[in-house]
């Protein structure tokens, strides 16, 4: 189904480009009374067709059609086909050469691009794996150690001591849950380069869910929420985008030292929704800003703060899989700002009606 549509689209594009070239040539012939430009126009058309279509087929068809058109309409005697002219055979050869070379080049380019994306994903996986092996051990050590301590010294520990240890166990387990949620997100977008499954999601409901979940974990941290008044529905994988927002908010809580206010804002601009998470904490050190989404930020490899790098690189991977942009900057008034944009199917024109 997808294939048929794609082929039809390419056929239409080929037809349009050739049609445009033909009309342009007719126009030029009448305006300038010269034919020297005409083959150049057709070569350009053939180039464009082979550049924009995936398969050789359309390029070859385009070059053959071009040769016929040249021969038919723009070579003396006009509007007759005449294959005795050696010129037409030459131009046919040239156009075919252009087609084949362009198609080969574009295919190669596309392959390279795909490989780059693939290696980026590979890098993310490697980073995650490294972080997992480093970072899972610490909370597991605490959980295992505290549990054995309680079991072995059940009668000797005071109530208070036991409560304290149990509290720490829960804290560590909570941290593990968040780590695993991030890992799950990555597997959800990792499958064979398939992009995410998007369902229209009501912005207000998404924000509500994220903020509620956040409030449960950090009851003392206020968030200033600002979203458009009107009904906004954006196609997305809501669970993954929720994960991005959660990561960004938690990132602020964990790393923005001296933060007094945390703001989550969503605006609609044209056919884009722009999400920002801004704090007024210590900001991001300049030397970390560049690679902040690549998973290399964060402290020493052993530090718990490494999760920041992982969390942010997961964010970047999710947003990229949605075809959006993500960025980080230091605010002029102090503090850090993380933002990302998602595309909507249709432009936000005030009130979306049904």
């Amino acid at each position: 189904m997808e294939d048929v549509r794609h082929t039809l689209k390419e056929a239409a594009m080929t037809f349009l480009i050739l049609g445009a070239a033909f009309c342009l040539c007719l126009l030029m012939q009448n305006l300038f009374r010269t034919r020297t430009l005409i083959p150049a126009v057709f070569v350009l058309a053939v180039f464009l067709v082979s550049f924009f279509t995936q398969r050789y087929l359309f390029g070859i068809v385009a070059s053959l059609v071009s040769v016929l058109a040249l021969n038919f309409a723009f070579t003396f005697p006009y509007f007759t086909l005449n294959f005795t002219v050696p010129e037409s055979i030459f131009s046919a050869v040239i156009m075919l050469a252009v087609t084949i070379m362009t198609s080969t080049m574009t295919t190669k380019l596309k392959k390279q691009e795909k490989m780059r994306a693939e290696s980026e994903k590979e890098k993310l996986r490697a980073n995650l794996l490294r972080a997992v092996s480093h970072d899972l051990r610490t909370p597991l050590t605490t959980i295992y150690g505290s549990c054995s301590a309680i079991i072995e010294n059940y009668d000797r520990f005071s109530e208070g001591q036991k409560k304290k240890l149990l509290g720490e166990i829960r804290e560590e387990a909570d941290w593990l849950i968040r780590m695993v949620e991030n890992l799950l997100s990555v597997t959800r977008i990792g499958g064979r380069g398939v992009s995410v499954v998007k369902t229209p999601t009501v912005l207000e409901e998404l924000i509500d869910t994220v903020v509620m979940k956040f409030a449960k974990r950090y009851p003392s941290q206020e968030i200033q929420v600002e979203i458009p008044e009107e009904f906004v529905s954006i196609p997305m994988d809501a669970m993954l985008i929720g994960q991005v927002l959660t990561n960004l908010l938690e990132n602020a809580v964990r790393h923005a030292e001296g933060m007094t206010s945390l703001a989550l804002t969503v605006r609609t601009e044209g056919n884009e929704a722009v999400f920002t998470v801004a704090d007024d904490g210590c900001g991001i050190p300049q030397d970390k800003l560049a690679g902040i989404f690549s998973g290399s930020a964060g402290g020493s490899p052993d530090s718990r703060k490494n999760n920041m790098g992982i969390g942010l690189s997961v964010c970047a991977a999710i947003i990229r899989a949605h075809g959006g942009r993500i960025w980080a900057e230091n605010r002029k008034e102090g503090g850090a700002l993380f933002g990302f944009s998602l595309e909507a199917e249709e432009a936000f024109n005030g009130e979306q009606q049904i």
Binding site: P200, T201, L206, F231
Partner: protein
């Protein structure tokens, strides 16, 4: 709650999860039955008539959904599903098969107990069609078809009222988009989730609810909505 001895059947193949869930239920005064497989669960359910079933969907012998369907053939016992995080689809499928609620793994015992209490209360008292419904400072007067918050009447359209009233008949229970649409618009409304969402947005606006405050009607993203319970 101490003296009630509601019977709860826990169907879960992980022994550790079964053990801590049973422990919490027992200390809260419930009588606990356990099963490790789908078929065993079905047997126990048939012979002991539990008041509630807590069911893990990923069982070794069969899909937990099968158990819900078979139990539903003969009984209205409330079923709470324990679901893995990945996928709203599983949740919707379970709810549509007849489950009453779900808890996402990993879960806290507090959350589980709240769901258990809500499910049992709902099944005991049944929908209160007549009279009134109260949650927080919101009140619904079913006879006059009137909703008020803090004593002040909220003007809703017929459709908006029908949605809120339907949700309030099952407080604490997640109702899927499909179930709400069917109840409000009948079969004609099938598949039109956006219409429901737009109506819901208007309801929130009229209720003066700000995102993140979670008042009155709770979002279950990608699944449906849930009316807040009185005690939540």
């Amino acid at each position: 709650m101490g003296n009630n001895r509601y019977k709860i059947l826990v169907v879960e193949d992980e022994a550790n999860i079964r053990s801590f869930v049973s422990a919490v239920l027992e200390t809260n005064g419930y009588q606990v039955l356990t099963a490790g497989t789908c078929s065993q669960g079905e047997l126990v359910a048939a012979s002991h008539c539990p008041d509630l079933i807590i069911l893990d969907l990923g069982l070794p012998d069969q899909d937990g959904l099968e158990l819900i369907r078979r139990v539903r053939l003969s009984s209205l016992v409330p079923v709470i599903v324990l679901s893995a995080r990945s996928g709203e689809k599983d949740k919707v499928a379970a709810l549509d098969a007849g489950a009453n609620d779900y808890v996402t793994k990993p879960f806290g015992t507090e959350e589980l107990m709240a769901r258990v209490r809500a499910a049992i209360r709902n099944s005991r008292h049944g929908p209160e069609k007549e009279g009134r419904f109260v949650t927080g400072d919101m009140e619904i007067d079913y006879d006059k078809r009137r909703i008020s918050i803090g004593g002040e009447e909220i003007r809703l359209t017929q459709t908006e009222y029908n949605i809120v009233a339907f949700l309030s008949e099952h407080p604490g229970k997640v109702l899927t988009y499909a179930a709400i649409i069917k109840a409000v618009w009948g079969d004609a409304g099938q598949g039109c989730v956006k219409r429901l969402q737009v109506n819901m947005a208007n309801i929130r606006k009229k209720f003066g609810v700000k995102p993140g405050r979670g008042r009155y009607i709770l979002n279950e993203l990608g699944v449906g909505y849930r009316m807040q319970e009185e005690h939540e």
